[in-house]
């Protein structure tokens, strides 16, 4: 065996489905399963069960020190199976947790497993181990290699696509700060007569403390993400009778809003919370926006404007069966700086407003989807779009970063730990050259988020930033 540590991953893919499986493989897997799994009577029995038996119970989060009711810390109700080596897929001791298939539930369980000291599996690593342990037919070796590759490419792609916007900027910025410091230390070591480290530790300590608190906030957002806890504030806007309420009803699945063919029916603001692929959406249906003298309706319009201001996501419904008018343009003018999905509604009727002229006036980054609430057309597409935006971290209530990918969280935690070691070294008055080992580890961990390797970055940085030499 070329590696002996214990690994885990979600085995069923990152989509919502009825059942999800988290697989743990390696010598510690039974111990880890045992510590997380409880029978309904509260016993940790997994260590003592026979191989290849299935058990019912709960996955329980790490309990706090003070007395508490363990049932308050249940993550999910599960079935769990133990397969002892060599009679498992990988040929190692394996535990599989069968839980409810929501993305968030699976991530939470995986997160608890990783917190127990297990490493996140690389793409294709279970198959690789299976092969290396002789559990797989030789003729399948090539298939395994293909698998490793395709999954790796996929992981890379998805991690790259997740990295648009703030997260990548932040990570890149942190990396740059760290490599600059290493390069400074290193150049002074290589050229002590040119570059002095006088008073440097204090400066570094301050800087790293600041970086640590940024990273802490970022990892914290994974668990406490406001969006996950409180839901995404989603506002449906559009001019009267564009089909806003019908959309809400379709998403919610019941007739909540009053729907008529008379423009201006929704005078109040309707709110509804729905679950979509494990994500909470707080959807607000607003009164149609148009210049009006009607007092009640006017109140509704003002409220709608307020809601747009505080929204994480705006669903802008356009009635394509009639020409775009001043009211549509009035809505558009309020949408700059917002995450917007434009819904070309009533696509069941003939199109009057054409997509091209629309594109020229709506915000650049807005997605466009054709919908019809009469025949549910485009609704799946809309749900998919919202899910993607969420997991790509595009939806956030303020400028705060939200980490949605468990790999990213793991890498950030490692970064944090490495930086803490540097702080310890500074506190213990260690010489400066001892900082580099942990700073470089931090740099490498952050690099994993970006899918970048370390290679010759350091040497390049030294030469480009500091004047060296004889």
């Amino acid at each position: 065996m070329y590696q002996v540590d214990t690994i885990a991953a979600i085995a069923t893919g990152m989509t919502d489905s009825g059942i999800g499986i988290i697989r743990i493989s390696g010598k510690d897997s039974v111990d880890v399963g045992n510590s997380l799994f409880c029978t309904p009577s509260g016993n940790h029995i997994l260590k003592n069960v026979d191989s290849h038996t299935l058990h019912y119970g709960f996955i329980v989060d790490k309990l706090p020190q003070e007395p508490c009711v363990w049932k308050d810390y249940i993550i999910d109700e599960v079935m769990i199976v133990v397969m002892k080596a060599p009679r498992s897929y990988t040929g190692e001791d394996t535990v599989e947790i069968q839980c409810h298939g929501g993305v968030l539930v699976m991530q939470k369980i995986l997160s608890a497993v990783l917190d127990a000291g297990v490493r996140l599996a690389e793409p294709g690593e279970f198959s690789k181990r299976a092969f290396l342990n002789g559990r797989m037919d030789l003729s399948r070796a090539e298939a395994v290699m293909d698998l490793i590759h395709s999954q790796n490419e996929y992981a890379l792609q998805s991690s790259v696509s997740q990295l648009k916007g703030n997260l990548s900027e932040k990570v890149r910025d942190l990396r740059e700060q760290i490599i600059y410091e290493v390069a400074f230390i290193e150049s002074s070591l290589d050229d002590p007569e040119h570059i002095s480290l006088e008073g440097y530790s204090e400066r570094l300590y301050e800087k790293l403390t600041a970086i640590c608190s940024i990273i802490e906030k970022m990892t914290g957002s994974f668990e406490n993400g406001k969006l996950i806890k409180e839901g995404i504030n989603t506002v449906i806007v559009g001019k009267p009778n564009a089909g806003k309420s019908s959309l809400l009803n379709t998403l919610v699945g019941e007739e909540r809003a009053i729907v008529t063919d008379i423009a201006g029916t929704t005078r109040d603001i309707l709110q509804e919370t729905i679950r979509l692929h494990g994500i909470s959406l707080n959807i607000t249906d607003t009164a149609g926006i148009r210049n009006t003298d009607d007092i009640v309706e006017k109140l509704g319009v003002e409220k709608a404007l307020e809601h747009i201001k505080s929204a994480d996501l705006v669903l802008f419904v356009i009635d394509t069966s009639v020409e775009l008018d001043e009211n549509d343009k009035a809505v558009i003018s309020m949408l700059s700086d917002k995450k917007v999905i434009v819904l070309l509604n009533k696509s069941d009727l003939s199109m009057v407003a054409d997509e091209k002229s629309l594109k020229s006036i709506i915000p650049d980054n807005a997605g466009i989807i054709r919908t019809s609430t009469v025949d549910n057309k485009g609704i799946d597409e809309l749900e998919e779009a919202i899910k993607n935006m969420f997991f790509q971290g595009q939806l956030r209530s303020s400028n705060e970063l939200v980490i949605t990918n468990i790999r990213h969280k793991e890498a950030l935690q490692e970064t944090y730990q490495s930086l803490k070691l540097v702080l310890n070294s500074i506190e213990a008055a260690m010489p400066e050259d001892f900082y580099s080992i942990d700073l470089m580890n931090a740099y490498a961990s952050l690099g994993r988020i970006m899918g970048e390797e370390v290679d010759d970055d350091l040497v390049d940085e030294i030469f480009s930033k500091f004047c060296m030499g004889k």
């Binding site: 690389e122 290396l132 290699m145 490793i148 790796n152 070591l189 010489p431 040497v459 004047c467 060296m468």
Partner: protein
């Protein structure tokens, strides 16, 4: 004219720092060796800076010495100032640097060569390499060295050739508009060998480097400069040099600075610099920039340091460190004269840039043998490195491995986790180096283990196994190891109570008092305490230490008088930095796993499915010896490495199946 033919085991081409080490190693291992040089007077010449060592380079010299090389001993004989750099930092980056008397250094090395049994020195230019084509059913066709031919037509038949041609191949020196086709210091260039190498299918490239002017000491006003002294207590480079023998009077170096006026002159004449005018085609090193480069690339710096260093005791020439240049002579004079202390300077030798042919070392195995030519080895600047120390280390390894091959033994390959030499060679033969390669501490990822103070503990045994370290030296090493282990254990197992005497002692040292008993090792870990001061409360120390020394003497024979000082140094480092050392050792374990996965020599990468095209091309081109080396080739991704692992494992299983039949 009848053809003259000589029969040798090894031919070494070039007698610089690489060539000398290579030739000495071969001859000392009993092989008949000839070393060629274009001028006997240029043996072990130092054509650039007048010093040996420096950050990380000091490590290289120590390692070289531990393996049985000559450079450390030679500088110990000929230095005129010595300094341990980075002493305020951790032990891993302490580094020795000595100013050399250049002429003496060269003369002393020549004497060593001249007195070496089995070694012949020959002044001649090697113009042609002689080889034969070979085929072997198991291998792709390859070439094999049979000898060399000199400019006068003499043929030396041999089993191995070591190329250490330095900066001489098609050398061209540039000083402004003046261009001469010579090697350093006006020495004759070697203009024919490149062609012979290309004919063998070896791919050549062109690098560039430079050196500053030398000044007449009498024309310099030292009162305007800061004096730089050597260390009070001098530590020798070589593990075999008696420290008492090197305590001697030293000469000073001097520090001054460039200023805005200097930079003004340089900027105003950039169009006359061969580099900026595009006349130089070679790639120069970023770490050793010319003063033109410094002024252009670091425009915001108001001044640059200039070190004035003596070239020797019996000469008036002074080296102007920090101001290498290829500007024309008139600009050089104007520029140097703006520097405080150099207002009336007289230049003895102009600064110049030099261009030369070398190879991309990825054509070599880590043993420094050419992958496609059996019996052809190379070392030094020819391999694309820079620096005397880097050259010497490669020369030694090339010499050792040429010998090992002839003697039918395994090559000596040092890895990244055991030496700077390993890092140096691995980087050279694996990475895509686009400039002359200089060693730096930041290149060694396991440097907490690779200290200059423990080079003997890391490598002396290997030197002994090769045959360059004597039985006696090896015994001494074993005695040292024994003493370190005994003393570390004693300190870990000796506890002191929280009694009055101990508390008073701690208080006097500004150290916090003990709550419970603690071991002496735990106390050494405190930054404010050391092995030395703990002597006050370590009452049985003397008794135990002399007992350990007696034991060591009984087992290993002699223990030299200074040995225990070296033991204390190791004991203290091992205990004080234990946590970091353990972390680093864990990293090394991970690294070693991949290094151990060897890739067969005849590996057919076209048969490995799923490798990305780029990775396949790179792997085919560079033919790494292990999965670890493969993973360091740029363009080979972690996924490719996984694929490779699975493939190799698969092949192994097939092999086992075949054996069953």
């Amino acid at each position: 004219m009848s053809e003259i033919r000589e029969k040798m085991d090894v031919c070494v081409v070039g007698a610089g720092h690489a060539g000398c080490e290579a030739a000495l190693a071969c001859a000392r291992l009993g092989l008949e060796t000839v070393i060629f040089t274009v001028s006997i007077d240029s043996i072990a010449l130092m054509p650039c800076n007048p010093n040996i060592g420096g950050s990380s380079k000091g490590h290289l010299v120590r390692e070289l010495d531990a393996l049985g090389g000559e450079m450390g001993k030679n500088i110990d004989k000929t230095f005129i100032q010595s300094k341990m750099l980075n002493v305020s930092k951790g032990p891993a980056v302490h580094s020795l640097r000595a100013q050399a008397d250049k002429a003496e250094y060269s003369r002393a090395m020549r004497k060593v060569l001249e007195n070496q049994e089995h070694l012949t020195i020959k002044q001649a230019e090697v113009c042609e390499l002689l080889w034969e084509d070979c085929s072997d059913p198991d291998k792709t066709p390859y070439k094999k060295m049979t000898g060399v031919k000199t400019d006068t037509g003499i043929i030396y038949e041999c089993k191995a050739v070591i190329l250490c041609t330095g900066t001489y191949l098609k050398a061209r020196c540039l000083c402004g508009e003046s261009i001469t086709h010579t090697g350093p210091n006006g020495l004759q260039a070697a203009n024919y060998l490149t062609q012979s190498l290309e004919k063998m299918g070896i791919e050549m490239r062109r690098f560039k480097t430079g050196t500053p002017a030398r000044m007449d000491k009498r024309s310099i006003d030292f009162t305007k400069m800061e004096e730089q002294f050597g260390d009070e207590k001098i530590i020798p480079f070589s593990f075999s040099t008696d420290p008492d023998s090197v305590q001697k009077d030293q000469v000073s170096c001097w520090l001054t600075y460039t200023n805005e006026q200097t930079h003004e002159i340089i900027r105003g004449n950039l169009d006359r610099s061969p580099i900026y005018a595009g006349i130089i085609e070679g790639t120069g090193p970023r770490y050793c920039p010319s003063i033109e480069d410094k002024v252009v690339k670091f425009a915001d710096k108001e001044r640059h340091q200039v070190f004035i260093e003596p070239e020797g005791i019996y000469t008036n020439e002074m080296y102007v460190g920090g101001m290498s240049s290829s500007l024309p002579e008139d600009v050089q004079i104007a520029m140097y004269r703006t520097v405080p202390g150099l207002e009336n300077c007289k230049i003895v030798r102009n600064a110049y840039a030099i261009e030369y042919d070398c190879i991309n070392a990825r054509q070599l195995y880590p043993s420094l043998e050419f992958k496609r030519v059996k019996g052809l080895f190379s070392g030094g600047q020819f391999n694309g490195s820079s620096g005397y120390e880097e050259a010497a280390c490669q020369g030694l390894i090339a010499g050792i491995n040429a010998s090992m091959e002839i003697l039918g033994r395994e090559p000596l390959v040092l890895d990244r986790s055991e030496s700077y030499i390993g890092v140096l060679i691995d980087d050279l033969v694996t990475k895509d180096n686009r400039e002359p390669y200089r060693m730096m501490t930041s290149r060694a990822e396991y440097r907490l283990l690779l200290r200059q103070d423990n080079a003997d503990l890391r490598l002396r045994k290997k030197g002994y196994e090769v045959g360059l370290i004597s039985e006696e030296q090896y015994k001494e090493l074993q005695a040292k190891k024994y003493l370190i282990e005994k003393e570390v254990n004693r300190l870990k197992n000796t506890t002191v109570g929280a009694n009055k005497e101990v508390q008073n002692f701690l208080e006097s040292m500004g150290s916090s008092s003990l709550k419970t008993a603690a071991s002496l090792a735990e106390l050494i870990c405190r930054p404010e305490l050391s092995y030395d001061v703990l002597g006050f409360i370590d009452s049985d120390r003397e008794k135990y230490v002399s007992r350990f020394i007696r034991e060591a003497e009984n087992i290993y024979g002699i223990v030299s008088k200074n040995l225990f000082d070296a033991v204390i140094e190791q004991v203290e480092i091992e205990i004080k930095y234990e946590g970091y050392i353990i972390r680093q050792q864990r990293q090394v374990e991970q690294y070693k796993k991949m290094e151990k996965k060897k890739i067969p020599e005849n590996m057919d990468y076209d048969k490995v499915p799923s490798l990305r095209l780029e990775a396949r091309q790179k792997l085919k081109e560079f033919r790494p010896v292990s999965v670890g080396q493969a993973s360091r080739i740029s363009g080979v991704s972690p996924a490719d490495v996984s694929v490779l692992l699975v493939y190799l494992e698969n092949a192994k299983m097939h092999l086992k199946e075949d054996e069953c039949f």
